[in-house]
């Protein structure tokens, strides 16, 4: 089953450096990074990081623990400002932008260590994701002007629609911190989607999920991509998921890219096997 998912995509070289899915070739790539790097007090956590992600590509970022994967996400979302290089989001340079501006430019993410608004309901969590999709101001809110009622209603419908992606409508009134682990991860994805992103970053979305849930998640990620026509860049240690749904894969080790390519290429790459898969075997032994 995972075989069929992958073999539908043909990856083609993108001018100069990278590969993108053939269907995205004539479109502006959603993400381009050039020699992106950051140092933490002398430690080069990420360096010379250059990738291209196609408009509707599902891309994977893998690498051993501490390789710098989450740091890349933090650079893309402007939690950290890079010390070198640049990020083009949909062709626009994000230099000097804040996290909030990056979100408005169309980048959304989930977190490796779940960051929900724990004291609030599932519905409110998604509504906060819709924050910039509605526009009534504080006074309409306090005095309950017509704009409030109209937009709250639309927001509620939108929330339910988004929750239905993961069949979570019945959980709308549940406090987010009371959700089971897997559902919290799914809620984070829904909240990210609520911002109407063009690029969705998922940091270990399958962590803590059982094999059945992971299987479902794989289908859902593809469905989300198809439905919203967005690009997905995901970090994941579960190789079955990565090899199953990622079209282009980038391997990071000690902050540097050691390989880029399709799942077959990555699996056959001796450098990757040495640095990444070999390390795992070591750990298992």
């Amino acid at each position: 089953m995972t075989e069929t998912r992958r073999s539908t995509t043909k990856m083609v070289p993108f001018p100069s450096r990278s590969i993108v899915p053939e269907r995205d070739l004539d479109k502006q790539p959603i993400l381009e990074t050039n020699h992106l790097g950051i140092e933490f007090g002398g430690l080069k956590a990420v360096q010379d990081f250059s990738i291209t992600v196609g408009r509707t590509e599902i891309a994977g970022l893998i690498g051993p623990n501490g390789a710098g994967k989450t740091t890349v996400f933090n650079l893309l979302t402007k939690v950290y400002q890079p010390t070198t290089g640049m990020v083009l989001l949909d062709g626009v340079d994000t230099a000097g932008k804040t996290t909030v501006e990056a979100s408005k430019m169309g980048i959304a993410r989930t977190f490796q260590n779940i960051r929900l608004f724990g004291n609030m309901t599932v519905e409110d969590n998604v509504r906060i994701g819709l924050h910039n999709q509605i526009s009534y101001n504080m006074f309409s809110g306090i005095f309950r002007l017509p704009g409030y009622w109209k937009q709250e209603k639309r927001q509620h419908e939108k929330t339910m629609e988004l929750l239905s992606i993961f069949d979570m409508q019945d959980l709308a009134d549940v406090k987010a911190s009371n959700l089971p682990y897997g559902a919290q991860r799914r809620l984070e994805i829904v909240r990210a989607l609520a911002t109407e992103p063009k690029l969705l970053l998922l940091d270990e979305p399958a962590a803590g999920m059982n094999p059945h849930e992971t299987e479902e998640l794989m289908d859902n990620i593809i469905r989300i991509r198809d439905q919203f026509q967005i690009a997905v860049l995901l970090i994941e240690h579960d190789m079955k998921l990565v090899m199953g749904i990622c079209e282009g894969i980038c391997v990071l080790n000690f902050g540097q890219i050691i390989a880029k390519g399709t799942a077959e290429e990555i699996q056959a790459n001796p450098v990757v096997i040495e640095a990444y898969l070999g390390k795992q075997k070591e750990a298992e032994a």
Partner: protein, 360 residues
Amino acid sequence: MKKPNRRFVTNLCTYLMVIIAFFVCRSMIDAGTMSRSMKGQLVPICAYIVMAISLNLTVGISGELSLGHAGFMSIGAFSGIIFAGWLRAVVPDVGNEVRLLLAILVGGVFALAAGFLIGIPVLRLRGDYLAIVTLAFGEIIRSLLNLCYFWLEGTDLRFSFGSSPDPAIKYLFNGPAGAQNVAKIPTETGFIGGFILVLVTLFVVLNLIGSRSGRAIMAARDNRIAAESVGVNITKYKMMAFTVSACLAGMAGALFGLNYSTLQSVKFNVDASIQVLVFVVLGGIGNIWGSIISAALLYVLPEMLRTFSTYRMLIYAIVLIIVMIITNLPLVRGFVTQLSNASERRRMHRDGKIRKGDAV
């Protein structure tokens, strides 16, 4: 069918509680069963309820520990008093209601402006630092007020800073001696005004919480990084909570100030800020109706206990504990949160929303 929203029911009960309490007090006054000293406490109670609700907006909803809330109250009190004094000189036959209303609005505006100016530097800080700086702010306001003198020449408002008083002038505000010759409002009018102000405060705070802005404020509190990642401008919403809170405190201050014929700025020192914080903490952080109950009970308590002189502090401490237990009791908060959480889980299991083997 959509069951009535949990928050809606809680809010409705909160309004009802205030309205019922008001009418009980009114009928006690009419029946003559309320003691004189208790009657004198009615307006300050209303003012401190507003103080507690507004501080809860900063501390509970926005999650910033502020120790300078009485500073905003004093700005509201003295700007309201000075304005009311000036108004009496300009329009001598203006009604008490109008004077109170306008003074409250003036107090609110001045405190809002102060909240905005102070919020700019202060909200860059977090946690303990914010608490320390707001504490200092409250004291700075008080020290500055001790150097201010306001008086009227005809209908013109005059101001001087730092100069020692001229005994010939009849001051509206006389530095360390505070406000004098206040255009005081009778208790009856003040109580109705206070009741309305409590309702307005509830309306503003509860509606804010239930709107887009309120959700953004709480998101910034619950998880800063996640809130920014979905495009919520943290600074803007922290500022919004802080200034609205300051504005309401200023209104409470004006109401409070116009209840006395003289008022010193020492009434608004750190102790007053801490006292309001105690109301909020004991009433339950983020729990609006809890703030109302604890502010009302704990404000009148020292007065009521005067007859027990020896055991006063003992009883006060016991009541503190009881208030804390009541407002935080699972069963009392419970119909609202705890119990429904449990039933929620049960329902999720029943409906198969939680699968076997899922970690909860």
